[in-house]
Each structure stands twice: as structure tokens, then as C-alpha cells.
């Protein structure tokens, strides 16, 4: 099922070229097209310093607008920057989904179809339109290849640490596999949590000892969560969110007021 986001982006990028074409066709505004492009360029530069995932669509829209204004201001079909109109739908197809690139190209074809034969000559104009159409299968093919490569990259990532380890080093060889490493890394704190809980239930501990064990269980659980988050961050393309108030599990106060640095199991 096609999501609302995909449809909205496809519509947005379909209207972008039409908007810029309309803008560059209005006699009162057309002479300022290059100025607007320069303004977009400055905004694009400024936005590049802002690291905020929510601004991604705005950034891409400004960049697309900049390219369209640049090509529009310098003569569309005859613009020396016309090649950017081949690259932009590829960029959109990679960034979003091919349908966004198709929407963009459809708008371009509509714009240029009105002036077929008027720009250079009929056959050249038709060939140019056909070459723009060729971008569609190219986007599909390259995106498919890109996704396969991305997947392969993840597969390599899982085992990448295996290189350079001597066959005789049993522990290092086992831990070189990231999945094994995660398993061992997570089993260690969970073993402690399980056993410490048993000690709390079954052993005759003083209140001070019991409090210390509870603190250690909490700290160890936090450490495990961090290990899982780190693993996800290392091996997947998804950014794992973390609350800014999350405290490091490495330290905590003991009942005696002494600060303890937890010795973390080494990832050899």
C-alpha cells in the first residue's frame, strides 16, 4: 500500500518544476529568477550547518528548487546546467522512492512538450525528451543495485572484525563475529542480574548488602540496554533515539558513598 508520505512527496515534486516554470514565465518576475536561485543557494548553505532530521525534506526541496531555478534562469532546454535535470530525479529516486522521481520527470516532460520543435529542431527536442524518459528505468535499476549493495554492506559488517585474527586464538575468533559478540556481551550482564536476584531472594543479606545488590542490578540492566543500542547503531542504518536525561550506567553511588567504576566485559 502506498503511504501518504510517498503520495505527498510525489505531488510536491510534480508541482515543483511547474511552479518554477510558471515563475520564470511571468515577465515581471522572470528577470529575478537568478536572484531567487542565489537566495536559495545561500539558504541551502545555511541549512547544511543545521543538523536536524526534521529539516531533511526542506533541505531537499530547497536544493531541488535551486537546480530548477538555475536551469530555468539560464534557458531551460538550452541551459548549460540542463544535465542537472538528469541527476536530480536520480537523487530523488535514491532518497525517497522512484515514484517521486517519476512525478518530477512527468512535470518536466509536460513543460518541455509545449516547446518541442521550438527550441533547437523537432528531432533534437524529441531526442532530449526521450533521454529524460530514460532516466526512469535508470533510477529503478540503480536504486535496486544500491539496495543490494547496502544489504551486502550490512552482511559484511556482521563479520568484518574477523580479518587479522590468528586461527589459534579461539576466543578472539569467536568474538570476531558481531552476532556472537553481542550474544556474549548481553549474556554477561543478564547472568549477573539473574544470579543477583536469586542471591537477594535466597541469601540472608543485610539491608545494606541488599541495597547494593539492587543498585548493581539496575546499573547492569542499564548497561545491557546500552550494549543493545550500540549494536543497533553499529549494524543498522536506523538511528536509535536516546533521552538526553539518560544517565551513564557506568557509575553509581554505593551505600557507603564510594563511587564505583563498573568493569565492562571487553569486546576483544
Amino acid at each position: 500500500m502506498v503511504s501518504f508520505q510517498v503520495i505527498s512527496k510525489t505531488v510536491l515534486y510534480f508541482f515543483f518544476p511547474l511552479f518554477v516554470f510558471g515563475l520564470s514565465s511571468i515577465s515581471g518576475i522572470s528577470k529575478y529568477t537568478l536572484h531567487i536561485a542565489l537566495l536559495c543557494f545561500i539558504v541551502a548553505i545555511a541549512l547544511s550547518f543545521v543538523k536536524n532530521a526534521k529539516l531533511a525534506l526542506i533541505k531537499t526541496s530547497i536544493n531541488s528548487l535551486l537546480i530548477l531555478l538555475l536551469v530555468g534562469a539560464t534557458g531551460w532546454f538550452l541551459s548549460p546546467f540542463f544535465f542537472l535535470l538528469y541527476l536530480l530525479p536520480m537523487y530523488l529516486g535514491f532518497l525517497y522512492v522512484p515514484s517521486v522521481a517519476f512525478g518530477f520527470l512527468a512535470a518536466l516532460l509536460i513543460i518541455f512538450s509545449f516547446s518541442v520543435g521550438d527550441e533547437v529542431n523537432l528531432s533534437f527536442d524529441i531526442m532530449t525528451l526521450l533521454s529524460l524518459l530514460l532516466v526512469i528505468p535508470l533510477v529503478i535499476y540503480l536504486r535496486k543495485k544500491f539496495l543490494i549493495l547496502k544489504q551486502t554492506d550490512k552482511d559484511i559488517l556482521i563479520l568484518e572484525e574477523e580479518s587479522g585474527i590468528k586461527d589459534t586464538d579461539t576466543i578472539a575468533t569467536l568474538l570476531a563475529n558481531r552476532v556472537t559478540n553481542l550474544g556474549v556481551t548481553i549474556r554477561q550482564p543478564l547472568s549477573f542480574i539473574k544470579q543477583a536476584a536469586t542471591v537477594l531472594i535466597e541469601e540472608d543479606l543485610s539491608p545494606k548488602e541488599a541495597t547494593e545488590y539492587l543498585k548493581r542490578i539496575r546499573s547492569t540492566a542499564a548497561e545491557s540496554l546500552k550494549d543493545i543500542r550500540d549494536f543497533e547503531g553499529d549494524t543498522s542504518a536506523n538511528e536509535v533515539l536516546e533521552n538526553s536525561t539518560t544517565k551513564s550506567p557506568e557509575t553509581f553511588d554505593f551505600a557507603g558513598g564510594k563511587e564505583l567504576k563498573k568493569v565492562k566485559k571487553p569486546r576483544q
Binding site: F192, K194, Q195, T198, V199, E203, V263, P266
Partner: protein
């Protein structure tokens, strides 16, 4: 009173085993890593050694190899490997190097550690 050496870098686990074995009346000595543990084990005289595998400076297999290469004058007793590296290769290597038993830490309860020590002491 039996002499037990715990070679374990994880402070929480080491102190937990120390606590339960001390409560059982054993004389427990701790080693923070394989290198320190090996130096202690090479002096000999421990009835049971509880050994972790993944440790800084010298891992558990290195410890076993070191002890095999340079055995103590006064023999140690049973060496029980306690590890979360729950793989056949690691277990086989540990047993080949002189460990008596291999227990997966994640499957253990404190009473299992007690029983393993009790069994080792005969």
C-alpha cells in the same frame, strides 16, 4: 576450610561468588584478571579454581596454557571454567588445556556454583 580462587574480571559477579562461597565457610581469594590469577595459581595450593574465559591482560585459555606450561610445585585442585562464551570450540579448548568442568554462566544459579564447588571438593 577449602581454598578457592576466583579468577573473574567482572567485579559484580566476582563479589557475588565471593559472598556465597565465603558464607559456605570457604577461604576465597579473588583475582581481577587472568595475569594476576595465573601468578596466584602458579603458587599452588588452591582446592578449586573458578575461572572466567574473557578477561583483559590474559584470557582464561591463556591462564590454562600458562598453568600447563609452568605447573605449580604445590598442585591445585579442580579448575572449573565459568563463561558466557558458550561454544563448543571454547569448551573443548578449555578441557584440552586442563580444565575439569565447563559451566555456562547464563544457565547458573548461585546454588549451582555451590554444588559445582562441593562436587569438586568431593
Amino acid at each position: 576450610m577449602s581454598k578457592i580462587l576466583i579468577v573473574e574480571d567482572d567485579q559484580f559477579i566476582r563479589e557475588m561468588y565471593h559472598l556465597i562461597l565465603t558464607k559456605d565457610g570457604h577461604e576465597v581469594t579473588d583475582a581481577l584478571d587472568g595475569k594476576v590469577g595465573l601468578a596466584m595459581a602458579q603458587e599452588g595450593g588452591f582446592d578449586v579454581i573458578l575461572l572466567d574465559l574473557m578477561m583483559p591482560n590474559l584470557d582464561g585459555l591463556g591462564f590454562l596454557q600458562g598453568l600447563k606450561d609452568k605447573p605449580p610445585a604445590k598442585k591445585n585442585g579442580t579448575i572449573i571454567v565459568l563463561s558466557n562464551l558458550a561454544y563448543g570450540d571454547a569448551k573443548q579448548k578449555a578441557l584440552d588445556l586442563g580444565a575439569t568442568d565447563f559451566l555456562v554462566k547464563a544457565d547458573l544459579d548461585p546454588k549451582d556454583v555451590r554444588e559445582a564447588v562441593k562436587k569438586a571438593l568431593g
